[in-house]
């Protein structure tokens, strides 16, 4: 038992070391860019309202962390992050869920999916963010639903289009095999079409995870409650408090990257067989 535990611990540290080696160039580049940024601002004496030093942004961020943790105080930055996160997440959930659902329904009848696809592809190239002021009128400028609606519409179309493609672009011989088994449509859907669509769906979800945060923050630029990242950035920027604006940009990036990682993790769990994930983890 002890031996086995020791061996398990040994492989764990070995794994950790291998991963660190794998990611070390990435980490080195990140650290290098931040250092370069810091030195360029110092050497060329760039005004803080044009480009604040990373150290200044980090100091402002730590100040907000202290405020957030202190009892009785509030940090608008963290409240904004929470609010924007929920807008993006809600929109992502509704839009992607709706896209997958509509794709499942329309792909049941070839005629319906063929009739709707051109509209979906056309709608996908419309700059939907331009509807943000209209959504503000519909739902109310301070209602998170106005931002969720924008995010949901933005992510709906790519998700639907990709899902329909994945459900319909099935290998002809795999379909013939099902035909030779005299399989029911439900069997073909669950055993062939849906597994075939998973890689398509996940590539859409990865794009949607980034789009949802862009959609939420940009929609907030058109107006929203004080405690949202988009409003925070516009207000602090117009007050020339650029370090604060940059902390909000940083938070938006962190949320965006986490979204993406969660989608990646789900992908790894649900389709470990896929080419892109073989031999990892």
């Amino acid at each position: 038992m002890v031996m086995a535990e020791a061996r398990a611990a040994a492989t764990l540290t070995a794994n950790l070391r291998r991963r660190l080696t794998y990611y070390s160039p990435t980490i080195a580049i990140a650290v290098g860019v931040i250092l370069l940024w810091e030195f360029i601002v110092l050497i060329f004496d760039i005004q803080q309202f044009l480009l604040p030093k990373p150290s200044a942004i980090f100091a402002e961020f730590m100040l907000q962390v202290d405020l957030w943790l202190a009892p009785g105080e509030r940090s608008i930055l963290f409240e904004s992050s929470g609010a924007t996160f929920w807008e993006a997440f809600g929109g992502f959930f509704i839009g992607c869920g709706g896209g997958i659902l509509v794709a499942l329904i329309t792909s049941r009848w070839t005629i319906v999916s063929e009739a709707t696809m051109p509209f979906a592809i056309a709608a996908n190239s419309v700059p939907i963010i331009a509807f943000a002021p209209i959504m503000n009128n519909w739902f109310g400028i301070t209602n998170p639903a106005s931002k969720m609606a924008i995010v949901a519409i933005i992510v709906f179309f790519p998700t639907m289009i990709n899902t329909v493609r994945g459900l319909t672009l099935v290998d002809a011989q795999q379909l013939e095999l099902m035909r030779s088994y005299a399989a029911q449509p439900a069997h073909i859907l669950f055993n062939l079409r849906i597994p075939n669509a998973l890689p398509y769906i996940f590539s859409a979800l990865r794009v949607a995870s980034a789009l949802s945060l862009i959609g939420a923050v940009v929609a907030e630029f058109f107006g929203g409650p004080r405690a949202t990242l988009g409003v925070y950035i516009t207000q602090e920027a117009s007050a020339f408090d650029f370090a604060k604006a940059w902390t909000a940009i940083m938070m938006a990036s962190i949320i965006g990257v986490s979204f993406y990682l969660v989608v990646l993790l789900a992908e790894k769990r649900l389709m470990p067989w896929h080419v892109s994930l073989r031999g990892q983890g």
Binding site: D171, Q173, Q174, E176, L177, M178, R179, S180, Y181, A182, A183, Q184, H187, N191, L192, P195, L198, M271, W273, H274, V275, R278
Partner: protein, 272 residues
Amino acid sequence: MSADSKDIAILARGINKIFNPGSDEAVIALKDINLEVEAGEFISLIGPSGCGKSTLMRLVGDLIQPSAGELRVNGKAPGRARLDRDYGMVFQAATLYEWRSVTKNVQLPLEVMGYPKAERQARAQAMLEMVELGAFVNHYPWQLSGGMQQRVSIARALAFDPAVLLMDEPFGALDEFTRERMNLELLKIWQQTGKTIIFVTHSISEAVFLSNRIVVMSPRPGRITEIVGNTLPHPRDFNTRNDPAYHDLVAKVRDLLRDAHGLEWSESDGNG
């Protein structure tokens, strides 16, 4: 070859198949095909590209419908036979479902057909042992070589014990050595199971080595040139390919195919 002494598995009378009928691109894929296959017989369809050998196999398997003629499988219409799950199919590509493990791939037809779980697993295990992949049940298709994938595909086709095995150039993508080994394994499986096998191939040596009868076909329009009987004794093994009778048969089929090709060349020369 008297029809009354044995059961007829496949009967084709006056089969025509025209693709895109009535349009400018109309192609006569098969013309006046007559063929009788006894139950338990191993038949090869051989011929140059465009001779309709795959089309004929697909007609038997009810993947497409004939334009004219009568086709019966075990005394039934092909559509009925398909609904009765009489067909096991193997294509040139192994066509495994990459998201399923080897055993789950073999179990797929059984799942679709509603077999209970314990029986699914037992059958998959037995089939995989027959194709000598008993140690690979939990592997995924991408972890197997091309020959191993094709063996999984054969195990999957046999899992639900269909009456007829339809094989469309199943070893066409394999190297010569692997192909000869797969030929031996397929013969062994055929003798164990007694299935009726329709085997489409480009390879003369493969057709002669495997089958009871070799159906030689020629293109434009696709038709049967000759049906060559094959009396090479069973069991056949590596030495069979050294038998003079084997070489005579190979030469005979090659000559027949050359005639079919020669006709083709002189026709196209004549057209400019």
